[in-house]
């Protein structure tokens, strides 16, 4: 029943957008767009984020105190998927918040419509890590996204389980153990399995994610050529994952109920760990006492995740919104967000701050997480090229790995299914 209602409303959204454009046009012309120069005008700015960006009430209040004419309304979607639906249903038609957060997974899709987004002021350019800023700059050289966080990855592990398997359990020992390429990482997993009979890694698809995030051109090339099924690097990644990671993984993919539960019950002992994963582990295994994080990542460094703030160009207060986005993503504010939610900053200055260098995490055996993640961020050398179809291809490849993991199809059949799926796109 709901599906029918849904279908109707989906079409209705499309249908009424024409009138929405007219309304938005009226709204836009009805008053002068508030800018910094007109400090007396009362302005309400809406900020829409998802999950937890670390934009606390106090942080926003600070800005409102500095700018008494501005009121900030902050809404948070539960997950980025909800935000994504809303974003593309309203983009270019009015109705979006003055500042909208976009997750890196669908940022490339948003960049297709970069002309509908307001350009960031020149003064903020150069604030971010090169690749973070480059991904938010469109073909015409317009910077349309304010980088918030990034996801440099280390390896989280359970010290006691490692010790029980005869592996080193101290942070430096584990870092030495995993120092090397993916083969080495999976060799250790084999050792762990030989000693305990249990898988070492949480999920086969997180390994795939880790490997794929180190490949520059994965499924498509900038000229639009689809290389997904012919790319030898992707094929090698698939083979490595299905042959060696699948037997060593507790689950096919992440985020299932079982997977969440498994962080506390010792089904696996290690996982690839972007900064934001620390909070997820702590939240799901609050009573487990031996989680730790090592300053190492197979094959160098890898980035997983990170978001941007965008300002839709048809908003009522574009200038004021740009100023707020500028402020929110400035290094000082980003450090406060990191302290509040663990969103690892993407700003060069924040990365160099002593505050970050000294940050530790009590749950992870007082690990110097600031220092570790900074080193991991520096180790990131490849910014994968992700176009608007990236998500679709990657999703299908993950499904291929899952089929092998579930024993539904063998390695070759599952690859062939993937090839057929890609051809159907």
């Amino acid at each position: 029943m709901n599906a029918r209602a849904f279908r109707r409303s989906a079409v209705a959204v499309a249908a009424f957008s024409a009138s929405a454009i007219v309304l938005a046009g009226c709204a836009g012309s009805s008053g002068d767009t508030g800018d910094g120069g007109n400090a007396d005008e009362e302005i309400t700015l809406t900020v829409a984020t998802f999950n937890d960006f670390g934009y606390t009430e106090e942080l926003l209040q600070e800005y409102m105190d500095e700018n008494p004419n501005i009121t900030i309304e902050h809404t948070r979607a539960a997950e980025s998927g909800d935000a994504r639906s809303n974003y593309f249903a309203k983009l270019g038609k009015g109705g979006l918040a003055d500042i909208e957060a976009v997750e890196i997974d669908w940022f490339a899709e948003a960049m297709q419509y970069s002309d509908l987004l307001a350009e960031a002021p020149d003064s903020v350019k150069g604030r971010w890590l090169d690749w973070k800023e480059a991904a938010a700059t469109d073909g015409d050289g317009r910077l349309v996204g304010f980088g918030t966080d990034i996801g440099p990855q280390g390896i989280c592990y359970r010290g006691e389980l490692f010790a029980a398997a005869g592996l080193p359990s101290d942070r430096d020992g584990v870092a030495d153990l995993f120092d090397g390429d993916w083969e080495n990482f999976l060799d250790v997993a084999d050792q762990y399995k030989a000693a305990t009979g249990k898988p070492m890694i949480d999920s086969a698809n997180s390994v795939l994610q880790g490997i794929v995030n180190q490949i520059e051109y994965t499924y498509t090339e900038p000229d639009g050529a689809v290389i997904a099924t012919e790319n030898p690097e992707i094929q090698a990644a698939y083979e490595l994952v299905t042959e060696r990671a699948v037997p060593n993984a507790a689950y096919a993919g992440q985020w299932s109920d079982d997977w969440f539960a498994s962080m506390a019950n010792g089904e696996f002992a290690a996982m690839l760990c972007p900064g934001w994963m620390l909070g997820i582990i702590e939240g799901n295994a609050p009573d487990t006492t031996d989680w730790d994080i090592a300053d190492v990542f197979p094959n160098g460094g890898g980035n997983w995740g990170g978001s941007y703030l965008t300002v839709p160009a048809d908003g009522d207060n574009v200038e004021a919104a740009l100023a707020l986005a500028d402020w929110l993503t400035a290094p000082e504010q980003q450090m406060k967000a990191f302290a509040a939610a663990g969103t690892f900053p993407s700003q060069i200055e924040a990365l160099e701050s002593t505050e970050l260098a000294e940050a530790t995490n009590a749950y992870f055996q007082d690990a110097p997480v600031g220092e570790i993640l900074s080193t991991r961020a520096e180790a990131v050398t490849v910014a994968p090229y992700k176009d608007a179809s990236y998500f679709k291809y990657h999703d299908a490849l993950q499904n291929a790995v899952t089929r092998v993991f579930d024993g539904v199809e063998d390695e070759q059949t599952s690859w062939n299914t993937w090839v057929a799926e890609v051809q159907a796109f």
Partner: protein, 343 residues
């Protein structure tokens, strides 16, 4: 407009020149005449206007979009003909989705209606605390589908699910709920049945209550047992209601979305499309890939499919239930049914 009037109480009467009153109507008279003719349409128009806006227009618009390469954000498209219909019909995922939809539909609708009739028959008996039982039957229906899915996904977890825990404790093999298509369909059908059985039971109960008690008394006097009474009186009397219930559950079953989308955390119907249904496929195309042209084409295919199956369904159901009624022993009822048909 005409300035003459035939007497409103005899509009069909042949005009008799002698009786014809020729006079000019005043404005208020004319208005009241319009009132008589136009008002009823005005009173019922809100529904039709609303339907045209939120029902008819979107449906027509979907048809237009289905022939276009549509860009949702820029709200523009390029006409490409039947390409998207062909793409869907050639896509193996569509056929998998169709198979799953029918499988889940059969696994849910058949036991559901059988169980609903049984429950309704029980509730129709003279039991204690009638209202309590009747209300409890509807309880699952009131629950939000997402909440139902949450509870059941906990039950049907592969590793830590309740059902598998019990099975493995008993020394039985765990069921691959999220791997094997059949078992995933069973799990999803269970959710659907949990939610809709009580609802259908109450509708059928209402129909059963309308059966005159005299029939049962007469049947009892004739020496018919409980089962015979049910088979020959209750079931035939339920015919129109059964048709309604079967048709609605067919439409609902072919559009099943909530339960399969909540069955795992990604909501995409499984890595091998084990529980990908047609609407789930539609959602994936529309809201994950933003390809509204293809989604619209699929929506129309689904619409036609439901129409065809609904008609087949209607014919079969009518025939089956009619056969039973004519086979029945309750002559009174048979006569009544005939009369109804004649009307």
């Amino acid at each position: 407009m005409t300035a003459t009037q035939v007497r409103p109480d005899a509009p069909e009467a042949p005009p008799k020149l002698t009786q014809k009153r020729v006079r000019v109507l005043s404005f208020s008279q004319q208005a009241s005449r319009w009132d008589l003719k136009v008002s009823p349409y005005l009173y019922i128009s809100p529904f039709f206007i609303m339907f045209a806006i939120v029902g008819l227009f979107p449906i027509a618009y979907t048809a237009v979009i289905s022939f276009m390469q549509w860009d949702l954000v820029r709200n523009s498209g390029e006409f490409i003909g039947f390409d998207q219909y062909i793409w869907i019909l050639q896509n193996p995922q569509f056929w998998t989705a169709l198979r799953n939809t029918f499988s889940i539909f059969l696994l849910s609708s058949v036991p559901q209606i059988a169980l609903a009739i049984f429950i309704a028959a029980m509730l129709d008996k003279n039991i204690r605390a009638k209202t309590f039982w009747r209300t409890s039957v509807l309880l699952p229906y009131v629950m939000a589908p997402v909440a139902v899915a949450l509870i059941f996904s906990n039950m049907f977890g592969d590793n830590h699910g309740l059902v598998n825990n019990i099975l493995t404790d008993l020394g039985l093999p765990a069921i691959p709920w999220h791997k094997d298509p059949f078992w995933s369909h069973v799990a999803i059908a269970t959710m659907v049945n949990f939610r809709w059985t009580g609802y259908n039971a109450l509708i059928l109960l209402a129909a059963m209550q309308a059966v005159p008690r005299d029939y049962y008394e007469a049947a009892t006097v004739d020496g018919a047992g409980a089962f015979r009474q049910f088979w020959s009186i209750t079931l035939p009397s339920l015919r129109p209601t059964l048709i309604f219930v079967i048709i609605t559950s067919t439409i609902g079953g072919l559009q099943i979305f909530d339960e399969p989308s909540q069955f795992d955390n990604t909501g995409q119907g499984g890595a091998a499309g084990q529980w990908l249904t047609v609407t789930l496929f539609l959602y994936n195309i529309g809201w994950r890939e933003w390809n509204f042209g293809r989604a619209a084409a699929l929506a129309w295919i689904l619409f036609l499919l439901i129409l065809v199956i609904g008609l087949i369904n209607l014919m079969i159901t009518r025939r089956l239930v009619r056969d039973e009624s004519s086979r029945g022993a309750a002559g009174v009822l048979r006569r009544m049914n005939r009369k109804e048909d004649a009307r």
